[in-house]
Amino acid sequence: MSDISRSLSAIVGENYVSDKPEETYFYSRDPGLMPPHKPDYVVVPQKVEEIQQIVKLANEEGIPVVPMGAGMALTGLVIPLKGGIVIDMKRMNKVVEVNEKARYVIVEGGTSQGLLKSYLDKNYPRLRHSIPDSPGTATVAANVMIHGQGRLTQQYGFNSDMVSGLEVVLPSGEICKIGSCCLSPDWFSKGAPLPDLSGLFLGWFGATGIITKVALRLYPRKKMRDVEIFITDSEDLVPPMIYELTHTEMVEDINVFAQPMPLIFRDNHHIALFMTGDTDEELEFKRKMIWDSLDPFIKNKDGGFMAIPPVMKPTLLDMPQRSVSRFADVKKGGGFEYSGPIIAVDKYPQCSRKVMELASKYDLAYSAMARIIGRGHCMMFAFAYTFNRADPDMMTRARKALEEGSDFALQAGGVFWKATVDEQQMALEKMHPTTRNLLKMIKTNLDPNGIMNPGNWEVQ
C-alpha cells in the first residue's frame, strides 16, 4: 500500500479506498465515447470533513481530485484525465431537510435523483422536483453542476436555476456556504438579494469545488398527469408551434423528437406535451387551451394530435423516461451518446436537418431530441447517435458525427452543454476574451495548484 493510500485510508477507512486495477477500471470511463483514463485512487467518503481532509491532502501532495456522482454525463466529465483521486460521492446520500411550506429540500452531494423522488413520493406527495431523464442513479448535485434539465424545465428553467443554496468544499479544503444559508438557517435562495456566488461552482464540473450539500426548490405536484403528442411533417413549423404552446403557460414539459424507427415515428416531428391537474376539470381545461393554441395548424393541415396507443402512454409518462435506454441499444452493443447544445428554439429546423444529414453520411441510427427550456427561451437539442461498442469502426463514425454536430451547433449560435474537454476548448477559443480572462482569474484564484478536475475549463 502506498503512502497516499494509507493517508486516504486513515481519513475514510480502509474499505473505502482502492487503487486496485479491477476497481479503478470502472472509474476510468463513462458510458459515452470519450477515451478512458485510470485514476490512481478511488475514495468513497461519507462526511464533509472527510472530503475536506482529502482535498487538503491532495493539495499537499499535488494530486488531482475528481468528484463524481454517478458518472452518467456521457461526455467524460469525471474521467480523471490526469489520474489522481476520484471522490465517489455515493455514500453521502441523505435527505437532510425538507421545508414543506417554503418548498425546498436540502440533500447531500451524492444523493441520487431516484432516492429523492422516492423520498418525496413517500413523505411529501404534494411536492416534486424537476426529474431529469437520466437514470435514477444520477445525482442531484451533479445534475445541477452540469446545468441539467428535467420535467419542470419548461416552467422554471434549467435545474440549476432551481438551486436555492449550496455547501461547497473549496480547493483549499475550506467549507463555503452559498446563498441565503450563509447567514440564515433557511436555504431559500442561492443568491438574491446577495451577490450570487453560485456561478463560481455551477457549470464548472468540479473544477472550482466539490458540492457537499445542495438545496433544491420543490414545486406543487398535481394528482394527475397526462401527455399528448402533436405531430408535423415540417421541421420549419416546430418553432412557431412551440411559441404558441409556451404562450398558453398550460404545459408542464415540452419534448420534441424525430427518429426513423419505429415506423410510427418516421417522417414526422413529434412535440410531446405533458400536462398536470388536480381534477379532471383542471386537466381538461388545460388540454383544451393547448389544443386550441394549435388549432390554426390543424386547420391548415400542417399538424395534428396523434392517437397515442395505450401501450405507449405509460412509457411516455415514466419519470425518468426509459425509452432513452432502449434507443441506446438499437444497434446492440449498448453505445449511445449525444451532443446536446443549448440553442435558440428557432434553430430547430437547421439542427434536425443536420442530425439526419450526419446520420446518413456516417451510416448511423439517429434520434433528434429537444427539450424546451423556459417559455421557449432556448432548448437543449440532442444530436443523438447509437452505436455498437464492439464495433470500433461504428464508434469512430459516431465520434465524427458528434464532432461535426458540435461544430455545427457552435457555428449556429449554440452553446455546448456538459461540454467535453475538446468542446470546452472550442468554446474558450470562441469566447469573448474578457470573459475568458475572468474564467481564468476565477479558476486560478480558487484553485491555484490546479488540482480540481484538471483538464476541465482550463484556459490555456
Partner: protein, 343 residues
C-alpha cells in the same frame, strides 16, 4: 387499375337522397343534397368534399349500393383535398407498411384475421374461439388498409389490398373470420366496389360469435345488465351485419338501452375527428354520445372496435359506465375474465 363502380344515374333517380339528408355532420335539405350529390357524381367541386368528416354513414344511408363515401374519397384524392393533417396521414400510412413481421398460427380452412390490431391478440381467447384457434393471422401483411378512406387516400388501398388478398390466397383458406368491421368491409364491400376478386368467404365475427354462443348456450349465464352499444364508423361498410349485435346481446342476457344515438343515428367515437379537425368537434360528439349513454341508464358501453375503445373508454368509465369490448362481454357470460381493461 382498379376503378370505383359508381352509377350516376342511380343518384339522379334517387327519391330520398338519404346519403346526405341523413348526414349528422352536414346540414343539407333534400334539394341541396340532390344538387351536391350530382355535382359530386360529375366530379365538380361540392360541399361534401370540404365538409364531410368521414363518418362513413352515407355508405349505410344509401340503399342503392352506390358508394357515395367512396366517391367522396376518390374525388378528394383526385383534387388534392386533404381531410387530415399531412403528418397524421403519413404516420398512418407508415404504420400499415408491410415489414415482414406478421404472425401466422396453425392455419385451417377457417382463419381468424386480427388485421393489425394488437389488442385482439390478448382478447381472442377462451372457449368462444376453441374451434378455430390457433388458426389466425396478424400483421401489416393481413391489414386491410381500409382506414385510409378516412385520409382520402384510396391509392394506398388499391396498392396494398390486392397483396393482402393474395396473402390470404397463399394460405389456402376458405373462410376468413374478420375480427374487425373494416376487415370485413374490405372484402365484402370495398374490394367488390373496385372490382377486386376475393377468393375466400369473408365472415363477420359477429356472425361467428352468434354461432358459437348458440353452441355454448348451456354454459351461458345471462349477465342481466343494461348496455349502450358504441357503433364504429367501419360498421357502416357492413350495415347488413349490424343486426347481429342485438342477437348477441339477447343470447348473453344484455338489454340494449333505447337511446338517441343508435342504429343509423349512431355517433362516431370521434377519435379520428380529434386527429383531423381538432378539439371542438371531437369533444362535442363524444360528450353528446356519452351523455346519451348515461341519460338512458346504460351500465356498460359495449365496444366493437378497439380503436373506439381507445378513444373514449376512459371518458366513458369516468361517467360511471363500464367500457367493455363485445368479445369480453361474451366471455364474461361464459364465466371467463375479460382481456381488456381501461388504461
Amino acid at each position: 387499375m382498379y376503378t370505383l363502380k359508381f352509377e350516376e344515374s342511380l343518384c339522379a333517380s334517387c327519391p330520398t337522397v338519404d346519403c346526405f339528408v341523413k348526414c349528422q355532420y352536414m346540414d343539407l335539405r333534400m334539394e341541396q343534397a340532390k344538387s351536391e350529390i350530382m355535382k359530386l357524381a360529375k366530379g365538380e367541386d361540392c360541399l361534401p368534399l370540404h365538409d364531410c368528416v368521414t363518418c362513413y354513414g352515407c355508405e349505410e344511408y344509401c340503399k342503392r349500393g352506390n358508394h357515395p363515401f367512396y366517391l367522396i374519397t376518390e374525388m378528394r384524392e383526385r383534387k388534392g383535398i386533404l381531410t387530415s393533417p399531412r403528418a397524421i396521414t403519413k404516420q398512418w400510412i407508415n404504420i400499415g407498411e408491410p415489414r415482414g413481421k406478421y404472425r401466422v398460427g396453425a392455419i385451417k380452412n377457417t382463419v381468424l384475421s386480427f388485421g393489425f390490431m394488437p389488442e385482439l391478440l390478448q382478447m381472442v381467447r377462451g372457449r368462444l374461439f376453441d374451434d378455430v384457434m390457433p388458426s389466425y393471422v396478424f400483421g401489416q401483411e393481413f391489414f386491410c388498409n381500409v382506414v385510409y378512406i378516412h385520409f382520402a387516400n384510396t391509392s394506398i388501398i388499391k396498392e396494398r389490398l390486392p397483396f393482402v388478398i393474395d396473402n390470404f390466397k397463399k394460405l389456402g383458406v376458405k373462410e376468413v373470420v374478420c375480427m374487425h368491421d373494416e376487415c370485413y368491409g374490405a372484402f365484402a364491400s370495398l374490394a367488390p366496389a373496385y372490382g377486386m376478386e376475393v377468393p375466400f368467404k369473408p365472415i363477420h365475427y359477429f356472425e361467428y360469435l352468434v354461432k358459437r354462443l348458440k353452441e355454448l348456450s348451456q354454459e351461458i349465464r345471462p349477465l342481466n345488465i343494461k348496455a349502450a352499444y358504441q357503433r364504429p364508423c367501419s360498421s357502416r361498410l357492413s350495415a347488413d351485419q349490424h343486426h347481429f349485435v342485438e342477437d348477441i346481446m339477447k343470447l348473453i342476457g344484455v338489454e340494449l338501452v333505447e337511446r338517441e344515438y343508435q342504429g343509423e343515428n349512431s355517433l362516431c367515437c370521434a377519435g379520428i375527428f380529434g386527429m383531423m379537425y381538432g378539439y371542438e368537434l371531437a369533444n362535442d360528439v363524444q360528450k353528446r354520445n356519452i351523455d346519451d349513454m348515461v341519460e338512458h341508464g346504460a351500465e356498460c358501453c359495449v365496444f366493437n372496435c378497439p380503436a373506439c375503445y381507445n378513444a373514449i373508454a376512459t371518458k366513458v368509465a369516468k361517467r360511471g359506465v363500464r367500457p367493455i369490448h363485445i368479445i369480453d362481454l361474451c366471455r364474461m357470460a361464459l364465466g371467463e375474465k375479460p382481456g381488456m381493461e381501461v388504461v
